[in-house]
């Protein structure tokens, strides 16, 4: 085996070694991080297995059982988290909402990172006038509250899930752009970049194959830090009735509709509010931990 110079084999080996190291690290995590990672794993599992574990379809109404209490407030096990004003099962709606909110947040984070990194690389590659334009856009995005811009766009274009995800993707793009530009410029000043250019590589290969992997850890950390912000933004807009629209449901949307029944049926709003807060908290904990581990220079 030793005399086969197969790089695939090598990549597999290093991957196995890395996975082992990762597992070993997991054992050493502080308790708080362990709880956070476990919670996030649980949320992810709920989002993926939503269709299998949901007790009822999330839109199914049970008009005889409206506003029934959850178990811990004297309700029965038919609806462990109670029902809402139309007799829909809160647990089932919660599961569907978790999936929707995570899906939107993942999509938006990835869109933001792709846009930001691309523009950052473009700025770093061309410098000069194009760089100044990108930087001016960065300044502009950083200066205006994103919620207000998002509201303006929603007002003029109306609402659809796709538009909504793309819109949330614009959040934090300027952070990735700034990071990608800075790191690409310093990467370009390093020998390996000049060496790869001198091999005849296209800019696409240079940035995609060499510079991107070299700055990936920093980007992943900032994505982790931006992810809870997007969850909060999504839930805020949905809460205001301007994000996810019925019959679709999301965590913020649930809180928004639960608001009307705050005095008579607070559980409708408390369950998703709890999930939003704990999830955002756990992701930012993990993000902070990752940052300390991978890139202490990032703020």
């Amino acid at each position: 085996m030793a005399d086969i110079p197969s790089s695939e084999l090598g990549a597999g080996q290093t991957l196995a070694v890395r996975a082992q190291a990762l597992l070993a690290q997991f054992g050493k995590l502080p308790v708080l991080m362990l709880i956070a990672v476990t919670w996030l794993g649980f949320m992810l599992a709920v989002a993926i297995l939503a269709d299998l574990i949901t007790p009822y379809p999330y839109t199914q109404m049970d008009l005889h059982n409206r506003l029934s209490s959850p178990v811990f407030m004297g309700g029965d096990w038919a609806h462990p988290l109670g029902t809402d004003e139309l007799g829909r099962d809160v647990l089932s709606r919660l599961i569907a909402s978790i999936r929707m909110s995570l899906l939107i947040a993942f999509g938006a984070t990835i869109i933001g990172a792709v846009i930001g990194v691309t523009l950052g690389f473009v700025a770093a590659h061309f410098r000069g006038f194009i760089e100044q334009i990108v930087l001016a856009l960065v300044d502009f995005s950083a200066a205006i509250p994103f919620l207000v811009l998002a509201l303006a766009v929603l007002a003029f274009f109306g609402n659809s899930i796709v538009l909504f995800v793309c819109l949330l993707g614009l959040h934090a793009w300027e952070r990735y752009a700034r990071i990608a530009r800075g790191l690409a410029i310093s990467g370009n000043a390093q020998g390996y970049s000049a060496a790869v250019h001198q091999l005849g590589a296209s800019p696409l290969r240079l940035y995609g194959r060499h510079i991107l992997p070299n700055i990936a850890s920093t980007l992943i950390v900032s994505m982790t830090l931006a992810f809870p912000e997007i969850i909060l933004l999504e839930s805020g807009l949905s809460f205001l009735g301007l994000g996810v629209q019925p019959p679709n449901t999301s965590l913020g949307n649930m809180v928004g509709f639960g608001r009307e029944y705050l005095s008579s049926a607070p559980w409708i709003m408390l369950a998703p509010a709890f999930v939003i807060t704990i999830t955002a908290l756990c992701i930012s904990l993990v993000g902070d931990g990752l940052r300390d581990k991978l890139d202490p220079t990032l703020t």
Partner: protein, 337 residues
């Protein structure tokens, strides 16, 4: 001139000027890093380019490779003019001309195993099937003396010598016609320098490619080169066979370089150069070397000597004194210590 006689590489009167601005509002200084360099490299021939740091030899290497465009003059590779840097024609030429860097650690991507990096030129230039590429990588690694298991290592897991071997392997994997080595051993430990030099000599003989070997180390240049050119402040001041230059340097600057080589057993007879070290931003008029030259004559201060064959033995040298055009000036300054 037939195709076989045509040199692999010819550079005519290359000049490159950099603008340097000091401070925000400082005035712009023009630095003429390369000032009228003409050189040729035949197929299978190694040209050694020697000079102090800052003399423009690395810039010459970049101009020759087309990484930078000369302000004046022209580079021709295999008879055709060099396409502009970054153009498709230029990128395609990369598989025929390659560069070995001074610092192998910074020339390699520290995130990728070296095997993948050695293979990368084949991927860029779409040479062969993946299986053929694997075979070629294994072959070239063996040629440069790397073990097959080194392919999976990351650069930092290799020794300095192994890293430079990996850089050489990456340069050779496309079987280039021209290899430019820019100070390939100066960043290495002294103990490894000889190994890498021997490897380069051996590879050049075996593969028969043309080579431009840039170094400040006259001994290294002599070991590998078929021909040596000595550079001073952006110009070639002397050119000839390595042994001739080492044993009978004609230009006073070459003489100083040769005398600086420590020889075991030889009683020290060093020529100590006078004056300031050369500053390309403030080029003296006439012969650029005249402020430091031990034999400066009046004419040297005003008239730039041209590189041409010396009447006595045909050695190409750019010096009024060596050419016998003027009598040596104040010889008293030639300090023998």
């Amino acid at each position: 001139m037939t195709a076989s006689q045509m040199p692999l590489l010819s550079a005519q009167d290359l000049a490159r000027t950099y603008s340097i601005r000091r401070g925000m509002a400082g005035r712009v200084t023009n630095v003429r890093a390369v000032d009228g360099v003409t050189l040729t490299i035949a197929r299978g021939e190694t040209l050694g380019l020697v000079g102090e740091s800052g003399c423009g030899k690395s810039t010459t290497a970049r101009l020759v490779l087309g990484i930078e465009r000369p302000d004046e003059g022209q580079v021709r590779f295999d008879g055709a003019p060099m396409p502009g840097s970054g153009s498709p024609g230029w990128a395609a030429l990369r598989k025929r001309m390659q560069l070995v860097f001074q610092d192998p650690l910074s020339a390699l991507d520290r995130r990728l195993p070296v095997g993948l990096q050695i293979r990368e030129p084949l991927e860029i230039h779409r040479m062969g099937t993946p299986a053929e590429q694997n075979a070629r990588v294994a072959e070239v690694m063996e040629e440069v003396g790397l073990q097959p298991h080194h392919a999976d290592r990351h650069p930092h897991a290799l020794s300095g010598g192994q890293r430079q071997r990996a850089v050489i392997a990456r340069a050779l994997v496309t079987q280039p016609d021209l290899l430019v080595c820019d100070e390939p051993i100066s960043a290495l430990d002294v103990s490894i320098q000889a190994q890498v030099m021997n490897l380069l000599v051996e590879l050049q003989e075996r593969l028969g490619m043309g080579m431009l070997f840039v170094s400040h180390d006259l001994r290294a240049v002599r070991q590998i080169s078929h021909r040596v050119a000595v550079m001073y402040l952006g110009r070639i001041v002397e050119e000839g066979a390595p042994d001739e230059i080492l044993h009978a340097p004609a230009h006073p600057y070459s003489q100083a370089l040769v005398s600086a080589i420590p020889h075991p057993g030889k009683t020290a007879r060093r020529i100590v150069l006078q004056g300031d070290p050369p500053n390309p931003a403030d080029r003296p008029p006439g012969c650029a070397f005249h402020p430091r030259c031990p034999v400066t004559a009046m004419r040297c201060r005003t008239e730039t000597p041209l590189l041409k064959p010396r009447p006595s033995d045909g050695r190409r040298v750019a010096c009024h004194v060596a050419q016998g055009e003027v009598a040596p000036g104040h010889v008293g300054q030639l300090e023998l210590s």
